[in-house]
Amino acid sequence: MPYLLDDPRVRYDYKKYKPVMAYPTGGVAYVSPAIVSEELRQLKVTSVEEQLEKSVRIIQELIDGNIQLKYGSQGPTSLDLVTMFSFDLLNLNVQAVFGFRGRGAGRLAFERGEVKIDYQTSSAYLKNSIPLVENGEAIPLFSFGALDENGQLIRDESFANSPVGIIDGDTMKVNVPHFGEVYERLGNSLSGIEWDTWFAFMSAGFGGMKLLLTPKETPDEIIAEFHAGISAMKEDPEYQRNKFKALGTYKQVIGKPADKIFDLATNVGQAEKRYMKNWLKEKYDLNLMTTEKK
């Protein structure tokens, strides 16, 4: 993120590297039941559509009640940017409290009840937040979605078989709706500069999150060795067994598809970039206008 936003602290240049392996990841935003009405808290769902309806109603309730939420953030130019921008697009009144060292610290503050809204990336969500959901200490709102082969936003299959809550002993296992669905249902259209900006930064932040890079001048033989190693790893039964819990359903790719992800991660359109910088300036008084790289 800092790279995409031309943060002056960035002293590296992705253009000097090339990808060996890449894979996307996702994430889920969730809220504490403490700020949700009893009725919605007890609302059972049997399909992802009903879960979507539930999320939309929770958000509407928070907006109508003008409830201010605190969110523990690592900083405005971290990946949290996408999350905070999402909250803003949904018209949620969220105040970011900066200075958290990592998402783990943010989750701890959520568990302590200091913050009422939080998000975790896929693997952390599956490992550490699902137990909270099962205990009735968290209700998932939306995922950041995933990109299909054509670059379209779809639901993230990583969460398809995880519970979204347990009510009266019934475990509800449905997928989590993605941000676009929630956003649209709240009466917004999936076009225009706001949506384009969200989509661009989501694709870069989550769609191209995990990159294994080497300097551009690395000889092809070495890259081939890496590729052979990665392919062998993917054949390994132990990898196949543990992969879902550690990484989600995302595919670890090499070659052309990896190049595509690398492009996604390191490029954001000028208009979207400018819109985001403007948003940061207005919202957090963070001035990144003047630092644009030539």
């Binding site: 523990g72 900083g75 130019t77 409290v97 900066f98 200075g99 958290f100 989750r107 819990k245 008084d285």
Partner: protein, 648 residues
């Protein structure tokens, strides 16, 4: 529960698992002896072996490794005054003072038996509380954590020496130095002066080494004596140390309790636990006159706390997957490698693994302390060696240790720079512990204050936890003024020469004042959240700094703030001018820039032995070869880097 506990013990005692545990312990001991090397170095060595190990063996090895590092780190803290790890800084104060008196073996005996006691205490608490600890840990919100940082700072009162004014300025100076780098709330850079190295703030290891070890080394350098002024008692001394612990068992247990609690609170970090324990012993002891000059209780307190800490730190690590201390972060990393996920399941589905971890910790503590005790006698002999023979090795060790912080040449320049500040702090009787506590707690106090104000507003002061900790801090401040630790008390008692030349002190205080002004100036460039903390601290200590300068200019000669060890020491104590050690060490680093560290240290050895120690050619060659070989072997096995030169 009991059958599960015993079953875990049984699995652990199969020869194979036990061997792995032993392997971890031995590795941890070796690595721990070397200051600056912690769990990460050990883990990097273990990494290739961990893959493919079964869960129990791997956990046993990992625990063995991290559990004993604070134990063996005590060796250098006591014998050389070099803080061996971030949680054995306080041990240096009295441990090294005892070594100078020729009681190194006694100090080590007490330290290791305290480690054992503390370690086992932590294990017991962990065993009984791990299943119910979650709600208790969650009680500590950001407001409580901020108050705990204040509680830590309240210890400064007990450690500030005779002059509280100087103590306050030293502590505030530490806080300001600690706030160099990115502001926790906004990420703005403070006082970085355009130096990339400072973006992440100064590393604790570099500061601890320069403030404590550097001045000691330079003083020994100038005195040209052995560390111990009297002959060490060896084995008998060690037994005395064990008896000292038995005599002070309640103190040790209290400190172990403190250690466990501080360890269990995620976000407190292990680097203050020893200071809190040390402050506690000073406050609760009637006769405080010997602290800082070799009181055995000053060794027992931090050492029982820092091993107990690991047991406590395992709780948040296992329950939340959030490390409670630096070594626990390493442990957590290791767990990920073998495919175990820390989290709530550790006390439900995977409770057997948790008990394996607990037992490994207990056994590792016993073996670690036992082996260290066994070695304490012979190793104490080091303090008898004439310093000119030992000095190059110690300089090599601290340089190498500092360089492991970020592996940047700047580590060494900062060591030199703050080493110089340390030398003058010691000489003018400024409290170095006060500075270090301020440094350690700066970031913590600031980020938790920032969070809790945003979460709770003024209501934060009405939270029961906050009120309790606040009262504790007030009690601690009250007791601290009844007597305080002063390493220079002996020298101060001497008849003051009619009038000291106050100019050197005045210049030093003036420079500190300048730094405070720079901090204020720098703060004005930042946004509100980025500056509010540093600016408040700077304004708070500014009047004290001005007051201090006024004392130097106009105060009576009897004022406690006026002190200069150089001028009150007997003539002939120092055989070399104060800047000579700086020139030697600075010279070593300059040559390193050109040739890289290894050739530079060889040159340094040869030059030092020939010019300062007057050893003959053969001995010089032998010592040089030994030192270099040792460094290279260590570097090879642990995959460590050394500073690279321009030419090599």
């Amino acid at each position: 529960m009991l059958d599960l506990v015993l079953q875990a013990l049984q699995t652990l005692f199969t020869p194979e698992h036990f061997m792995y545990l032993l392997l971890g312990v031995l590795l941890g001991l070796v690595i721990g002896i070397f200051p600056g090397l912690g769990g990460i170095a050990g883990l990097s060595l273990l990494l290739p072996f961990l893959y493919g190990m079964d869960e129990v063996s791997a956990l046993a090895t990992l625990i063995g490794l991290v559990a004993v590092i604070p134990t063996s780190a005590t060796f250098t803290s006591v014998l050389m005054g070099i803080p061996g790890s971030s949680s054995s800084q306080a041990t240096v104060l009295d441990g090294f003072a005892l070594a100078k008196k020729g009681q190194a073996s006694r100090a080590l005996g007490a330290a290791f038996s305290s480690s054992l006691l503390g370690g086992l205490f932590g294990v017991i608490i962990l065993t009984f509380f791990v299943q119910i600890a979650r709600p208790m840990i969650l009680l500590f919100g950001s407001a409580e954590l901020f108050m705990l940082a204040i509680f830590g700072l309240s210890m400064v009162g007990s450690l500030s020496g005779k002059s509280l004014v100087k103590g306050v300025v030293a502590c505030g100076f530490g806080i300001l130095v600690g706030s160099i780098g990115a502001a926790p709330a906004t990420g703005e850079f403070r006082m970085t002066f355009g130096i990339n190295y400072l973006y992440d703030g100064l590393p604790l290891a570099v500061i601890a080494l320069s403030i404590f070890a550097f001045p000691e080394i330079s003083e020994l350098f100038r005195k040209e004596t052995a560390i111990a002024e009297e002959t060490d008692m060896g084995k008998a001394g060690m037994l005395t140390g064990v008896k000292d612990l038995i005599k002070n068992k309640w103190l040790a247990l209290r400190c172990a309790g403190i250690g466990t609690i501080v360890g269990a609170i995620p976000g407190m970090g292990g680097s203050v636990v020893d200071w809190i324990a040390y402050g506690h012993v000073v406050q609760t002891t009637k006769d405080k006159s010997q602290f800082g000059k070799g009181d055995i209780r000053g060794v027992i307190a931090p050492e029982s706390a820092n091993n107990a800490k690991e047991g406590g730190a395992l709780m948040p690590t296992l329950l939340f997957g959030i490390p409670g201390s630096g070594s626990m972060a390493v442990f957590l990393g290791g767990m990920v490698l073998i495919g175990i996920e820390a989290g709530p399941s550790m006390v439900t589905k995977d409770i057997d693994l948790t008990y394996t971890i607990i037992w490994s910790l207990a056994i590792a503590n016993v073996i670690g302390a036992g082996l260290s005790l066994f070695l304490a006698g012979p190793i104490s002999k080091l303090t008898q060696i004439k310093f000119s023979l030992l000095a190059p090795f110690m300089i090599m060790v601290i340089s190498f240790a500092a360089f492991q912080s970020t592996k940047d040449m700047m580590d060494l320049w900062m060591l030199l720079c703050f080493g110089l500040i340390g030398i003058f702090m010691k000489r003018f009787g400024w409290s170095r512990p006060a500075f270090l506590i301020g440094f350690v707690l700066a970031t913590q106090a600031e980020s938790y204050l920032n969070m809790s104000v945003q979460f709770y507003g003024w209501e934060m002061f009405w939270r029961p936890g906050v009120i309790i900790i606040m009262l504790l801090s007030l009690i601690s401040v009250y007791y601290s003024r009844k007597g305080t630790v002063d390493e220079n008390a002996e020298l101060m008692k001497k008849e003051m020469p009619t009038e000291l030349n106050r100019r050197p002190q005045l210049i030093f205080a003036g420079l500190i004042l300048m730094f405070i002004l720079v901090a204020i100036f720098d703060s004005w460039q930042q946004s509100f959240l980025g500056k509010v903390f540093t600016l408040s601290i700077a304004y708070a200590i500014l009047p004290f700094a001005i007051w201090l300068i006024w004392i130097y200019l106009k105060g009576e000669a009897t004022n406690a703030a006026i002190f200069d060890a150089e001028q009150v020491s007997e003539a002939g104590t120092f055989k070399a001018p104060w800047y000579e050690p700086i020139l030697w060490i600075g010279g070593l680093y300059v040559v390193s820039l050109l040739t890289g560290f290894i050739p530079a240290i060889m040159l340094f050895f040869i030059a030092f032995f020939t010019l300062k120690a007057n050893t003959n050619v053969w001995r010089t060659a032998l010592l040089t070869a030994a030192g270099t070989a040792f460094l290279m072997l260590f570097g090879y096995f642990l995959n460590l880097e050394f500073p690279q030169g321009i030419f090599f």
